[in-house]
Symmetry: C2
């Protein structure tokens, strides 16, 4: 989920709770996998299991979309893909600019998963003149000097920051000044942006953490079953812990 | 969440629901941002807002960890980071092998967010002898022929697949044969693995989809307020839709 200045009221727009919005892409991912395997319909229980939520919550979430499935049949996979895509706005074209064309920016420029969801990479930018002019994914990398012009002329909706951490805030400031109100931040730093600008931060280790939980269970290294690690070090700094947070 | 063969019962191990496990990394990400800003304590409302869940759910989730906060004070940020890290198994060392050293594999090899969570990149592998031997992030890229030996000698716990889609299944099969039971798949394909092997698939467009939802609202392109897009095309294939799924 979001960190930094992206807190917002629980409901917005047509009254879909923020937590439901955050789950729609997960349903879409599970549905896309079913679609790729040619599965025509899915029960709420199956879809809930694939998405990692309980089925009552899934049904409630989908009811906000006016989607209730059919008793004994379930949900039509293709139509639900369409409904969720429409709700998320993925049936529109969202021109995206990627700023910072190192290995990650390069990988994202070639990432098929963006275009298939309506995110068209419209521009690649870098501050390094050794990189600008290179052709990647059929596009010439442009210089940061042209950012404002590119945003205007290419109708860029979303800025994707893949610079090193020290450069990210300045890039965010320039995107905001150029009128961008949605930023996806891959740089390992927290960005400050004005009210009305949405920033979402990608943490590539999130899924690894969930794997680690299960790997720990499988290898019998349960933190309770196994030896309990010591309290965190730096005892001097933590002298008040027992009162603040009883173990 | 997981797709493919990662469905599992709602509860496991110490009885922490799977959905709670999936939220712990999100709390950890929000807490880490607070920690970086030097914030010592956080209320359940603030932390819930930062993580995009409601505060009752947050309190329930954290109660599984034996963490209840203190009335009027909230949660100790550093201690909660430690508790969640311990629960997820992040206080252990998880040697990771990255297979497929294109741009994404290269980017992940240098990604600071892995090491800070206990995921040590122990080995880089590629099938292309033009790539093997190159030094990236202080390591020489090894050839796929050495996979089984590397898994054994370096005690690799988790395999990260960053190959092109057509190569991913074969790599997964070899990882499983070598004894790996946790796979993180960045390749845009669904993997088949035996029972007992956890696969999680990363979709880099998930956060973009949430941004698109809000961008759509901000730009007044609400699918209900604005012109309603037509039903999906391919009408011949969808003739039974009205019965299966009333609009």
């Amino acid at each position: 989920m979001a960190t930094g200045r992206t807190e917002r009221p629980a409901q917005r727009g047509r009254g879909i709770p923020e937590a439901t919005v955050a789950r729609l892409p997960l349903y879409l991912r599970a549905l896309s996998a079913l679609s790729e395997r040619g599965v025509p319909t899915v029960s709420s229980e199956e879809l809930a299991a694939a998405a990692g939520v309980n089925s009552a919550k899934l049904r409630k979430d989908l009811s906000y979309l006016g989607s209730y499935g059919t008793r004994g049949v379930g949900y039509d996979v293709e139509y639900l893909v369409y409904q969720i895509s429409r709700e998320l706005g993925l049936t529109q074209d969202w021109p995206v600019a990627i700023i910072g064309i190192g290995n990650l920016g390069h990988a994202l420029a070639n990432y098929g998963g963006f275009a298939s969801r309506g995110f068209r990479v419209a521009a690649l930018l870098d501050a390094d003149r050794a990189v600008t002019g290179q052709r990647i994914a059929g596009m010439a990398v442009r210089h940061m000097d042209d950012l404002e012009q590119i945003v205007r002329e290419d109708h860029v909706s979303i800025g994707v920051i893949t610079t090193p951490a020290p450069a990210a805030q300045e890039v965010a400031d320039r995107l905001v000044a150029a009128g961008i109100t949605s930023i996806l931040n891959f740089a390992p730093t927290v960005l400050s942006v004005p009210e009305g600008v949405d920033v979402r931060k990608v943490d590539l280790s999130i899924e690894l953490q969930i794997l680690a939980f299960h790997e720990q269970r499988k290898s019998g290294l349960d933190p309770v079953a196994g030896p309990v690690p010591a309290r965190p070090s730096k005892p001097g700094e933590r002298g008040d812990l027992p009162e603040v947070m009883p173990a």
